[in-house]
């Protein structure tokens, strides 16, 4: 069974995660400027880079949401 389109409830979950990830990445980029400790700096920068990659993947998933099409069919 292969579905190209992701289900409505999956869309909501991915939306939640994407929102969270956006905030995290933004915060990391803002915070990293005030960190003097090398190690914490690296951790935050790493998190920022992987975070951006993850955000791209999540965007890709959202683009394949069923909800972008036949909305009328889903409600009833």
């Amino acid at each position: 069974m292969t579905y190209q389109k992701i289900a409505p409830h999956e869309t909501f979950e991915i939306h939640e995660i994407l929102t969270f990830k956006n905030v995290c990445a933004t915060k990391a980029s803002a915070m990293v400027r005030f960190v003097k400790d090398e190690e914490l700096r690296t951790l935050l920068e790493e998190d920022f880079t992987t975070g951006q990659e993850h955000i791209k993947e999540l965007q890709e998933l959202l683009r394949s949401s069923q909800l972008l099409e036949r909305t009328d069919e889903l409600t009833h």
Partner: protein
């Protein structure tokens, strides 16, 4: 074996206690199995969440490794159960309206079963177990 989930005949008529009649038990296997599968799926969900929560609270490396393994096993189990349920037609994540219809039907059937007098009044079964001290 593949069967649709459909209402049990006996509970089409409200409060019928003739559920032991063979003709009334039509649809019973599908209803029983789908309910158990749903319970199983909900348990698998909690399993994933419980492991994740525990993982964020544990610092000991050995315990972390083990709980992480359990988390992966739990995710695989969840995948298997949901695939099985989709295959059997008990779970329709891609057709929400279908899923809602099914949920309503199950709830209705469950309500009627809950209303039945299924067991004898006294279920203590004293004397049938080797527990003389009770």
């Amino acid at each position: 074996m593949n069967y649709e989930k459909k209402p049990i005949n006996a509970i089409k008529k409200p409060m019928s206690n003739d559920y032991l009649e063979i003709e009334n038990s039509d649809g019973m296997p599908g209803l029983v199995d789908s309910t158990i599968a749903l319970n199983f799926l909900l348990t698998a969900k909690s399993g994933i969440r419980n492991c994740a929560v525990a993982l964020t609270e544990i610092a000991d490396p050995e315990a972390r490794t083990e709980v992480r393994k359990m988390l992966n096993v739990a995710i695989d189990l969840h995948a298997e159960i949901s695939n099985l349920m989709m295959k059997k037609g008990w779970f329709h994540p891609y057709q929400v309206s279908e899923q809602f219809k099914l949920d309503k039907m199950s709830a209705q059937a469950a309500l009627q079963i809950a209303n039945m007098q299924l067991f004898p009044g006294d279920t203590s079964r004293l004397g049938t177990f080797a527990t003389p001290n009770y």
